[in-house]
Symmetry: C3
Subunit: 312 residues, 3 copies
């Protein structure tokens, strides 16, 4: 069985293989469908449009069957544990679950107990592995490799589940990671990278990766943040002009327009924000397919023959 | 790209063409399926059973794939704008969206900005074009044409999104529109038609079209309404007896039984209320197909060849 | 048309036929798909994971098309009655509805009025026929027949919709039913069986059937219950040791771990709790198929030819 819980679980070969698969799905050069009907379920304990719809789209494109699950109308409301919920779905015939959950490392104990693979779609302030993979795909698409690339990650470093994984993987893959953001949101113990001033970050970066202010995870009043944040740490129209030639802008979205980035820049030439969303579908197809192939192999036990079919 | 935002956008030829298509779908004389998988999403920001399930049924019957979207569990909860939500869905691969929204003309700015067609499933107190089309289909089914027909629209004229479009289109198509209802709900600036007394309306009408009291849009206590409304403006058992031979009763539903119409009349011989719901599926098939055909043509650019296939 | 509202509606031949069908579905010895697309809808007015997902899985496996219905975003919020909701779905093309509702015997009047079959997925403190059927399937799987079997039903007898139907059907099928549980939750008028002390029940039973404490239906504070309940009426580790050789443990779930049953016993060798969930899918396939076959026959009127196809 093959969970995907953190990107750190992936060795470099596996990670690049997923990016290769995603690229082949994007170009229509690879098709995988399960040999028999396969069933998945999406358990979202937090609000989501992008990630949830993107997984659903990937599942449709792989020809998977989706058993709908809504937290608000489920037995979670009667106090059922996450383990019992997953094993119930497994008993009913669900073969893999995608989970987003507000608790950091909700999967810690679960991963050794459940009988079907979990794909982590975000855990609290922890990780969001498919977001990291789609970010890496978007960067590789643009620059061909990661080696020597300057990537500036800017904003709410402490609460972001994107920042940590991206900083770690980019560093492993040879990029130089620069960090910037308000002092009270810096995170010196968990994120690898060099802290620099905002204006320096903008000028040296090949990739300006803005983070979302997770207003829903803060206790401060959003207004007091918005007023000053854009001037100090946002990508203003003026700052964009000082970006390097050929450099790009990324943001995991949803964007707080006029806060992390000027409204006018969200869809500017440098922006890859909607491209990231497009790539998300292909990355999730690659991840789901690998996970379900491991289930298929498990089901037939001695049948390890290759299930991948190349499109002509 | 082809939005459907208001019925006024349709010229008479187009409108009648949609009714013809719907009739052919109803009779099983027309089949259209997209040549490749096509994806749609239904964004309902207001409660709905009829319209929502009817669109889902139409989508199933056309073989479309539906990416589920629930406002309550989406990033709308994090403050994402409608524009960003639609463009996110578009980036992920959704090719048309059906939207119901509490804001009048929510589409006003959007329609020039979004990259996929919007089908309006109701905007505030504004329009509800597929409801208008299904009403027209139901009337034409009964009487063959609209010319010279007397249609009485009765009730909460000001808050109704059905009244305005129906009055406008029926007048254009040659019917005589009569209006009746409480003074405080009359709307002399926006609705075309002759105001008459309730009892006169009942006696001259070929079609008695009752409007729903949109209790959820009123501030008054529903009880005070219900007590007197039925006697004054409801279709009572006594009033039904004075209706013309061959005349029919319509209501967009959900019906407040015993308020707009006597409980016993909801499914009486004259009533076309459930027939309206049946027709809704076919009208929506016609509208969705036209919208997605425009997307298909856009995708292939120089391929404007006819995608409609007649069933043998 | 063929509702399934209570198990008492089924004569013994019909009941055993459903269990036979379910067993054939389980073994892959029977396949039924509707000859044309058939549409169903699941109306859950109470929280559920197991029952709801299990019906969805059964529907997928039968190749049915599901029109999603969410109470919270439906016109039920505008006061639409259950009758009008069902008839609306029927008008739109839905051919059978699965309903869970908090009101006892919500179907009482409905069943003579609606135009499509209802499958009851639980009514208040009333019945839950497919749960009863899956329990019977699980017992028959284990022991081959019901004759002379000792079945102890333990716990919240009064609020449980499982206890009543199971006690009635098991008695009819020749089993001896023993009941145990807190005095204030006993129900001498509605449930057939012999009341015995907890420790006696455990020792004589071939089947120890634990009931869920429906905390959501009680007014007492759950903590005061939990503290003493497990010692007095729960299946403790110590009690399990005194169970008969070959006897099994059942529970309709969701389990309150450490209350009705010790955490460690939920997945022990004797436990059939997850097996019950697996069987639920097959029982629901059998029930849905029978219900829809009656619709199919109704549709063609003079065509009563057998629609069941045996798999080779």
């Amino acid at each position: 069985m093959k969970h995907l819980l953190t990107v750190s679980d992936l060795d470099q070969r596996e990670l690049l293989q997923i990016l290769d698969d995603a690229t082949m799905y994007e170009k229509g050069q690879m098709i995988w469908k399960p040999s028999n009907s396969m069933f998945v379920s999406n358990l979202f304990f937090e609000a989501s449009t992008r990630t949830r719809c993107s997984f659903e789209m990937a599942q449709h494109k792989l020809g998977l069957q989706i058993i709908p699950f809504e937290v608000m109308t489920s037995s979670v409301q009667k106090g059922e544990t996450l383990y019992d919920t997953i094993e119930t779905l497994a008993a009913i015939g669900v073969q893999s679950v995608v989970i987003r959950h507000p608790e950091d490392e909700y999967y810690k104990k679960l991963q050794h107990e459940v009988s079907i693979p979990i794909i982590n779609a975000g855990d609290g302030c922890g990780q969001h592995p498919t977001q990291c993979l789609l970010d890496l795909m978007t960067i590789r698409q643009e620059f061909g490799s990661f080696n020597g690339l300057n990537v500036a990650i800017i904003g709410d470093l402490r609460h972001s589940r994107v920042a940590k994984s991206n900083a770690e993987m980019l560093t492993k893959l040879g990029a130089n990671v620069y960090l910037s953001g308000p002092k009270e949101w810096q995170d010196h113990s968990n994120i690898c990278g060099h802290y620099v001033e905002m204006d320096e970050a903008i000028e040296i970066a090949d990739v300006v990766m803005l983070l979302r202010i997770q207003l829903e995870r803060h206790n401060e009043a959003p207004h007091s943040l918005n007023n000053t944040y854009h001037e100090k740490y946002g990508l203003t129209i003026e700052r964009e002009k000082r970006m390097k030639k050929g450099s790009i802008i990324m943001h995991p979205a949803p964007v707080n327009r006029g806060v992390e980035i000027a409204d006018e820049l969200v869809e500017c030439n440098r922006s890859r924000i909607f491209k990231q969303m497009k790539n998300g579908v292909f990355v999730r197809m690659a991840v789901l397919a690998r996970s379900l192939q491991s289930v298929e192999r498990g089901m037939t036990h001695d049948n390890y023959h290759q299930k991948w079919h190349m499109a002509k």
